[in-house]
């Protein structure tokens, strides 16, 4: 508690809602986590789990209907939910950058790569004119693009998907942010290109020492890259811990189900065990645990009470009543 200042980013009990025609949609319900400098944090979950909304809340780039309705986001100890728009503009890009899933729609098709890169550089640093162009070329080299001078003069549609994602990463790195948020950075890409981009993110993280928040639905990507993992479902954190803890010692029924529902590399012909039911409808969240309707071990308490988070060990926290049941039954025996 006392060493709060040590965290690069600390999200505390974040609540984000969207106000739509059909009423208030609670997209994120009490998410808390901390990020250390140089850490790669993975947020995994399926559609509607609130993983992207969490990332957008940190960047404060929610759609107009979205609003942070509770909680704090501390950047180096300073709550940025209270910042002015001007201060946030400086913060975005300089301290935190984001790359999106679809590199085609995040680049402006009527400007050259060079134009867009130098604009990002002049906006956030004191480099102007030729210095900015040089810096742009340097960034392209950094993200592994050959012949940067020629590429700077090209338009986004002249580049392939993987190349565009590299340009997006270069743009995000323009001002050497402390935190890079990657929202499904490889989902739109093919397997071999995905491998290139993941390799790049890993390299850059080592080279520049920034922290990375990787938002994805792909457990394979998470397993490969992340130090720590947060599993989300229905706007809440189910479980968080180190990669090995989550994959080898899952303590939430959802994580367990998720791991069982993907083909086992060692025994391909083994039948998959799917999670029953349909994905959660966030318009209609249950009173208790968000996962209760699909959980095969669902108990009475799951229907009525939201599970509290418990420390499984120092590297692992989980919010599942099954863990409590275990203690309870151990205690009463």
């Amino acid at each position: 508690m006392a060493e709060k200042k040590d965290y690069l980013l600390s999200v505390q009990d974040l609540h984000t809602s969207f106000f739509t025609d059909s009423g208030e949609v609670h997209a994120v319900n009490g998410v808390s986590f901390n990020l250390d400098p140089g850490e790669i944090l993975g947020i995994v979950g399926e559609s509607g789990s609130g993983k992207s909304v969490t990332a957008y809340s940190i960047m404060q780039i929610l759609e107009s209907t979205g609003k942070i309705v509770g909680g704090k986001i501390l950047y180096k100890g300073d709550d940025l939910t209270k910042w002015s728009a001007a201060k946030l503009d400086k913060f975005r890009g300089k301290c935190v950058s984001i790359i999106f899933q679809d590199p085609m729609t995040s680049l402006n098709p009527v400007f050259t790569i060079g134009n867009q890169l130098t604009e990002a550089i002049t906006l956030h640093t004191n480099k102007k004119g030729q210095a900015a162009v040089d810096r742009a070329a340097e960034l392209l080299t950094l993200v592994g693009i050959n012949e940067p001078q020629r590429r700077l003069k090209q338009y986004p549609h002249e580049l392939s998907g993987g190349m565009r994602q590299r340009v997006m990463i270069a743009m995000a790195l323009a001002c050497e942010p402390d935190i890079l948020i990657a929202d499904e950075p490889t989902t739109a890409l093919d397997v071999t290109i995905q491998a290139q981009i993941l390799e790049l993110i890993q390299d850059l993280q080592k080279k520049l020492g920034m922290a990375v928040i990787l938002v994805t639905h792909d457990l394979g990507v998470i397993a490969e890259l992340c130090d720590n993992i947060i599993v989300m479902y229905g706007g809440r954190i189910c479980e968080r811990g180190t990669a090995r803890e989550i994959f080898y010692n899952p303590r939430h029924e959802y994580t367990k189900g998720l791991l069982k529902s993907i083909p086992n590399v060692n025994n391909m012909k083994e039948k998959l065990v799917p999670i029953a039911g349909t994905p959660i409808n966030i318009l209609n969240l249950p009173k208790g645990c968000a996962f209760c309707a699909r959980c095969e071990n669902c108990m009475k308490i799951c229907l009525t009470d939201v599970p509290e988070e418990l420390n499984i060990n120092e590297n692992h926290k989980a919010s599942c009543w099954m863990n409590v049941k275990e203690v309870f039954e151990g205690g009463t025996k």
Binding site: T20, L303, N313, W321, N323, F328, G330
Partner: protein, 359 residues
């Protein structure tokens, strides 16, 4: 701490077990689980759209305004004792003093008549310079304008829909040629053609005296012809575009892979999916037709006197504008109300029904 649980579970020290009981950890029944996972209520596309439309205050407001106007123009002539071409008279004597009366004003002759115990219906909007009741003229003008707008839109819709769907569905060379024809029609000056046509038609067409067509006049006929010839191109383009985008959907491919014949695909999949766009653009076409009619009437190319239309009423009011400004105000206000309401309603329909705007 350590003697509480023999297993020495590290979780136990974080928990206050006293608040739990064993019932809580019983397995939930499937029934209980199912209650948590309810499917939202079934809605059809139409119901959902109507619900959204009814939530739009501007659209609801315009529907009310249009409804009121419709009620007035249908029922008012039934109990107003004047006709639109009738020159006012009292007891069979022509009332020469009933010229340019102000709203709710009576002429001298009428006042005498009322004093003598007769009842006289008030001139709500006053009278015009030919001693005709202005209110009934405005109502008939609105009738004419709405009917013209409505039928012109239907002509546009039918031609545009046929042309656009053929062009869009067949595609390829047929589409290319059909769309170049549209481009040519776009480049014709519509005003010039209306004037030419009405001049030509005036000499050719002879209607039975007293028939509806006769009282509307050749100008109106040429107006309809021009709408039918020139104004459908926008609708045709719109529907062609719509069909092209629907054709891209995988469900069309799925229908083909099932073996569904072309006619069935058009009837079952393509038409139902562009119906909302057709309704929306028709709703937006009506005010533009009313507008066209009004300005044609205003420049003297509209309906034949004595039949009024909102445009010709406004034109007639120009003369005494300084003395009787309200005579311009009433028809102009009516045009504004109708056009604005249709536009707002059209926008509301688009927001509610256009699938592209759905989340």
């Amino acid at each position: 701490m350590e003697n509480k649980t023999p297993k020495k579970n590290p979780l136990s020290m974080q928990l206050n077990l006293s608040k739990f009981n064993s019932y809580m950890f019983e397995k939930a029944t499937d029934e209980e689980k199912r209650q948590q996972d309810v499917m939202s209520e079934s809605t059809t596309f139409f119901k959902d759209g109507m619900r959204k439309l009814m939530k739009n205050p501007l659209a609801v407001g315009s529907m009310i305004v249009l409804g009121l106007i419709l009620i007035i123009i249908v029922f008012a002539p039934l109990f107003i004792p004047y006709r639109y071409e009738e020159i006012l008279s009292v007891n069979g004597v022509r009332d020469k003093g009933a010229k340019n009366l102000r709203p709710f004003e009576y002429s001298k002759l009428e006042q005498q008549y009322i004093e003598a115990g007769g009842t006289r219906f008030p001139h709500i909007f006053g009278t015009d310079e030919q001693c005709r009741d202005y209110f009934i003229r405005v109502i008939y003008g609105t009738r004419v304008s709405l009917v013209v707008g409505f039928f012109a839109s239907i002509i546009v819709l039918i031609i545009g829909m046929l042309y656009g769907s053929i062009s869009g569905y067949l595609g390829g060379k047929v589409d290319m040629i059909m769309m170049r024809i549209v481009d040519i029609i776009y480049s014709l000056p519509d005003m010039l053609i209306i004037i030419l046509l009405s001049v030509v038609l005036q000499t050719i067409l002879k209607f039975q005296p007293g028939s509806l067509l006769d009282s509307l006049g050749t100008n109106m006929i040429s107006l309809f012809i021009v709408f039918g010839m020139l104004y459908w191109v926008g609708m045709a383009r719109l529907i062609r575009g719509q069909i092209l985008s629907i054709k891209q959907n995988e469900y069309i491919l799925a229908a083909k892979s099932i073996g569904a014949p072309t006619g069935m695909i058009i009837k079952r999949h393509i038409l139902p999916n562009c119906i909302s766009v057709i309704i929306i653009s028709t709703a937006l076409q009506i005010p533009s037709a009313i507008f066209t009619e009004s300005y044609l009437s205003f420049v003297g190319l509209g309906v034949q006197a004595p039949m009024p239309s909102l445009g010709s009423l406004a034109n007639a009011a120009r003369g005494g504008l300084q003395n009787y400004p309200y005579k311009l105000l009433f028809p102009a206000l009516m045009i504004c109300l109708i056009v604005l309401s249709f536009n707002l309603l059209g926008d509301g329909l688009r927001d509610a029904f256009d699938p592209k705007l759905k989340k």
